[in-house]
């Protein structure tokens, strides 16, 4: 795997982790890949939120997703915030509805270390449970700027069910990995 390396990986331990943080991300790779397999301590599905550089940046997204309807229904959405914020990037199943609930997310951050231009993220996620479709399958395209025409290199990423630092926690055993593609 010479040109693809795991930067960090781990599992949630304990019962009070609200944020999964990737800190001190080196700028030595060309692109980042973030994978997560987990669920949250909630009765129903939860939106997954992403933020970078300790909540610096103005975000926008365009997305589509399946819904919990039995068939046919699809939702879509768009948003842009001109204040510092963080966006949705997928949907996760809630553990309290079904022990078999799951959620998987893969995110790509192309050219994350270029400090001269806004950054982009592509996110694909799926979640569900055994007897009830307690989740959504989704695809997101996201962008983040510094409020102008640039954005510093991404050195920190956090993932959380809403809100960051809140009281909706990741289920113990949820696993995550951040990897870098060399350029």
């Amino acid at each position: 795997m010479a040109d693809w390396e795991v930067i960090t990986q781990g599992q949630v331990t304990g019962a009070t982790t609200s944020d999964i943080d990737f800190n001190s991300i080196p700028g030595t790779y060309q692109h980042l890949e973030l994978s997560l397999s987990g669920k949250v301590e909630a009765t129903n599905w939860q939106a997954l939120y992403v933020r970078v550089n300790s909540n610096a940046g103005q975000w926008g997204y365009s997305r589509f997703a399946s819904t919990q309807a039995a068939a046919g229904a699809v939702s879509q959405g768009y948003a842009w915030s001109n204040s510092t914020t963080y966006p949705e990037a997928g949907y996760l199943a809630g553990n309290n509805f079904s022990a078999g609930a799951f959620g998987n997310v893969t995110m790509i951050f192309p050219n994350y270390a270029d400090s001269t231009v806004p950054k982009t993220v592509l996110s694909r996620a799926a979640g569900g449970s055994g007897s009830y479709v307690d989740g959504q399958t989704s695809a997101f395209s996201l962008a983040v700027t510094d409020g102008g025409s640039t954005m510093p290199a991404i050195t920190q990423i956090s993932l959380a069910p809403y809100p960051f630092g809140g009281t909706t926690y990741w289920t113990a055993g949820s696993s995550y990995m951040l990897a870098g593609y060399k350029g």
């Binding site: 693809w4 060309q30 926008g60 768009y78 948003a79 806004p118 982009t120 695809a139 350029g183």
Partner: protein, 188 residues
């Protein structure tokens, strides 16, 4: 153990509206392309411009590609489109739509993003075709401009190994910050 090998990271010159990966070796199992796309047209944003497209091996007949594209489009916060675009027998196309390349209208600097996977690209004994999955998108921070998010999967009507990837901008020359990497994936 599988392995990822960088084939090349391409930096646009800023003076060409297309970018190519040529002489792709056939020694891997799959190909993966990751990067950004951005044109320099000051009169366009247009991530869905008809001039934004991709070709493999320069295939350009009317039956070269068949694909299903799932996408959404938003403009001014208003949903303006969401549908499947399916091509099929008798309705194939001469290129793969490559939405997400944006111009610089309204001083936009935000690029589009690209993830493309081409499994079994060097298989030549299997029929009928090579195939691909493509996820692209572009989000604007200005009003009255279009944002897109696209999943596109399809087939390439060839039994030859893929040795060339080319994409084209309909919104000006590709800018130098829109770097694109091509990787070879070995499954064993």
């Amino acid at each position: 153990m599988s392995a990822v090998t960088l084939i090349s990271t391409a930096t646009p010159t800023g003076s060409a509206s297309s970018l190519e990966f040529t002489s792709i070796p056939s020694s891997y199992d799959d190909l993966l392309m990751i990067g950004n796309v951005k044109g320099d047209s000051g009169t366009d944003w247009a991530p869905n411009d008809s001039g934004n497209y991709l070709r493999l091996n320069d295939l350009s007949t009317s039956t070269s590609y068949e694909a299903t594209q799932l996408y959404d489009q938003y403009s001014s916060g208003t949903f303006v489109g969401y549908q499947n675009q399916k091509t099929g027998t008798g309705n194939a196309v001469d290129y793969i739509k490559f939405w997400g390349i944006t111009g610089t209208l309204n001083s936009e600097t935000t690029p589009g993003a690209v993830w493309m996977y081409i499994p079994g690209y060097s298989v030549t004994t299997d029929t009928p075709t090579r195939n691909f999955m493509l996820h692209t998108g572009a989000v604007s921070n200005s009003t009255n401009v279009l944002s897109v998010n696209v999943i596109n999967a399809g087939a390439v009507n060839t039994t030859s190994a893929i040795n060339k990837i080319s994409y084209y901008s309909g919104v000006g020359n590709l800018v130098a910050t829109a770097k694109m990497s091509l990787y070879g994936i070995s499954n064993s």
